[in-house]
Symmetry: C2
Subunit: 362 residues, 2 copies
C-alpha cells in the first residue's frame, strides 16, 4: 500500500504543478525536482544519465519531464558549461549549388553530434564578412567554418577568431597564411585535367578566363593552366589569360574580348560555371559552333551546366565530401580545446565531367 499511496501523492503533486504551469511559463529542472521531492541537481544528473543516480529516479525524472513538457533551457546550460553548441558558417552566398550542398552536409554531420549551425552570407563583400564574424563571435559560437569572400585580402578579422581560441575551419576559399584547417579540392590538378582533356580533343589555342589571383583557389587554377599549357607546348599568351570577377556579365564581357582577338582561341576554360554560361551565350549570339569552333569548359558543376544546350563540361568539386570533412575536422578540433591550431590541409581530387560543350568526338 505504500507504493500505492506514493503514486497517489505523485499524481496529486503533478496535477498541482500542471495547473501552476499553465499560468506561468516554462517547465524548469526545479519544477521536476519539486514534483519528485528531490534536488534540482539530481534531476539534472538524471537527465544526463549520470551513473550516480538510480535507475528508478532516472525513470521517474524522465516521465515527469515528459508530462510537464520540459524543454531544457539551452542558454542556461550553454552559459554554465561555457559552450553554446552552435557552429557559425560563413559562405559567400547560399544560392549556389556548391555552397548549399556543403552547408547541408555540414549541418547533417554536426546535428548528429548535438550542434546547431548558424549560416551567414558575405555576398562576396569583405565588410559583410567582418560583420558576420562579429555577429558569430557575439553569439558565442563554439567554432566557425568559413569560405572567404572574393574581396577578402586583409585577414585580421579571421585572426580575431583564432585569438579567441575557437576552432576555425576554412573550405574552398582559404588562406595558408592563417595556419588553420583547410578542406578543398586540388585546383591546380583540376586545371591540368581540363587542359589535358582539351588537348585530347585536338585544341591548340586554349584561353583561360580566371578569377582574381589574390584568391588562392583561382590563383591555383591559373597556375595549373600555365603549367599545363607549357607542358603541352601550347601558346601561352597574355591575351589568352584573363583575370575577372567571374559573374555571368563578366563571362560575357571577357568572351567578347576573346572573340575580338585577331587570333581567336579554339577553346576557353572558364574558372566558374556562371561565367562560362555568360561566355556560352556570347558564342551563340555570334553563331559560333560549340565545341566545333570553340570548345568550352566551366568549373563547379552547377546544375544548369547539365541542362543548357550544349551542356557544359565542368569540374565536380565534391561538395558533399568537403562539407562532411569540414564538419568532422571541427569535431576533431573541439575535442582538444586548448590545442594550438596548425595548418592542416585536406584536399580532395576533383572530377572532370565531360559534356557536349567540349566533346568533339561525340
Amino acid at each position: 500500500m505504500i507504493i500505492r499511496s506514493n503514486t497517489v501523492n505523485l499524481l496529486k503533486r503533478l496535477s498541482k504543478y500542471i495547473k501552476k504551469l499553465t499560468k506561468t511559463k516554462k517547465t524548469t529542472i526545479k519544477d521536476i525536482a519539486n514534483v519528485l521531492n528531490i534536488s534540482p541537481a539530481a534531476v539534472s544528473k538524471a537527465l544526463h544519465d549520470d551513473s550516480r543516480i538510480s535507475d528508478k529516479t532516472k525513470a521517474a525524472v524522465k516521465t515527469v519531464a515528459k508530462k510537464l513538457n520540459y524543454q531544457p533551457n539551452h542558454l542556461a546550460s550553454a552559459l554554465r558549461r561555457g559552450k553554446s553548441n552552435l557552429v557559425g558558417l560563413i559562405v559567400p552566398r547560399t544560392n549556389s549549388n556548391f555552397f548549399s550542398s556543403v552547408v547541408q552536409n555540414i549541418e547533417e554531420v554536426l546535428n548528429k553530434k548535438g550542434y546547431n549551425i548558424i549560416i551567414t552570407q558575405s555576398n562576396e563583400s569583405f565588410t559583410k564578412e567582418c560583420s558576420n564574424i562579429d555577429t558569430l563571435l557575439f553569439t558565442q559560437v563554439d567554432g566557425i567554418i568559413a569560405s572567404m569572400a572574393n574581396e577578402t585580402i586583409d585577414l585580421d578579422y579571421f585572426e580575431k577568431i583564432k585569438s579567441k581560441g575557437i576552432p576555425l575551419i576554412l573550405f574552398d576559399r582559404g588562406e595558408n597564411d592563417l595556419n588553420v584547417d583547410y578542406v578543398g579540392i586540388n585546383d591546380y590538378d583540376s586545371s591540368h585535367m581540363i587542359i589535358e582533356h582539351l588537348v585530347d580533343q585536338g585544341c591548340k589555342r586554349i584561353a583561360h578566363i580566371g578569377g582574381y589571383r589574390h584568391t588562392r583557389i583561382f590563383n591555383n587554377r591559373v597556375k595549373g593552366y600555365i603549367d599545363a599549357i607549357n607542358k603541352h607546348n601550347l601558346p601561352l599568351e597574355d591575351e589568352l589569360l584573363i583575370e575577372s570577377s567571374l559573374t555571368i556579365e563578366d563571362g560575357r564581357e571577357k568572351m567578347e574580348q576573346l572573340l575580338a582577338l585577331e587570333n581567336r582561341p579554339d577553346a576557353v576554360y572558364v574558372a566558374a560555371d556562371y561565367a562560362a554560361l555568360g561566355a556560352l551565350q556570347v558564342l551563340e549570339e555570334h553563331q559560333i559552333r560549340v565545341p566545333q569552333d570553340i570548345a568550352l569548359v566551366g568549373f563547379g558543376n552547377e546544375p544548369f551546366t547539365a541542362l543548357v544546350s550544349p551542356s557544359i563540361t565542368t569540374i565536380n568539386q565534391h561538395s558533399a565530401e568537403i562539407g562532411k570533412q569540414a564538419a568532422l575536422t571541427f569535431l576533431e578540433r573541439v575535442k582538444t580545446p586548448g590545442a594550438k591550431q596548425t595548418l592542416n590541409k585536406i584536399i580532395f581530387e576533383a572530377e572532370l565531367i565531360v559534356r557536349d560543350s567540349s566533346n568533339k568526338k561525340g
Copy 2:
C-alpha cells in the same frame, strides 16, 4: 595633480588587468568594474547608456571596455532577459534564388535591429522540418519565420511553436489554418496574368503542369488556371491539368505525357521554373518550336530562365519584398509579446516577365 595621479592609477590597474587577462580567458563586466572601482551593475548600465550613469563614467567604461577587448556574453544576457535575439528560419532549401533572396532580406532587416538568424533547411521533408522546429525551439529563438516543405500536411509541429508563445511568421508556402502572419504573392492572380498573356498570344489550348494541390500556393495557381481558362471559354480538360512534384525530372516526364496526347496543347504553363526547364528540354528534343508550336511559361524567375534559349517567360515573386515584410512582421509581433496570434495576410502582386518562350509577336 589629483587628476594626474588618478590617471596614473588607472593605467596601473589597467596594465595589471591586461596581464591577468592574457592568462585567463575573456573580459567580463566585472573586470571593467574592478579596473574602475565601480560596481558591475554600473558598468552594465553604462554600456547600455542608462540615464542614471554620468557621462564621465560612461566614457570611462567604454574606453576600458575597448582596451580590454570586452565582448558581451550573449548567453548570459539572453538568459537573464529571457530572450535570445535569435530568429529561426526554416526554408525548403537555400539553393533556389527565391529562398536565398528572401533569406538575405530577412537577415538584412533583422540584423539592423540586433537580431541574428539561424537558417535551417527542410529539403522538402516533413521529418526534417519537424526536427528543425525542435532544434530552433531548443535554441531558444525569439521567433520563427518559415516556408513549409512540400510534404507537410500535419501542422502539429507548427502548433507547437504557437503554443510556446513565440511569433511564427509564414511566407510563400503557408497555411491559413494556423492563424498566423503570412506573407506571399497572389498566386491566383498570377495564373490569371499568365493565361491572359497566352490568350493574347493566340494560344487556344493551354495545359498546366501544377504542384501538389495540398500545398496552398500550388492549389491557388491551379484554381487561377481553371477560372481563367473558363473565363476565356477555352477547353478545360483533365488531360491538360497535371499534378506533379515540380522537379526537373518531373517537368520532363509530364511534358512527354502532354506530347503523347492526341490533341496536343499549344501552350504549357508550368508552376515552377525548374520543371519548366525540364519541359523545355523535352520540347527541344522533339524539335518542337518554342513558342511557335508550343508556348511555355514558368514560375519563380530563377536566374537561368533569362539565360537559357529560348529564355523562359515567368513570374517574378518579389522575393526581396517578401523577405523584408516577413522580417518587419516579426518585429511588429515581438513588440507585444503576450498578444494572441491572428491571421494576417500580406499579399504582394506578382509581375509577369515576358520572354522568348511565349512571345510569338517578337
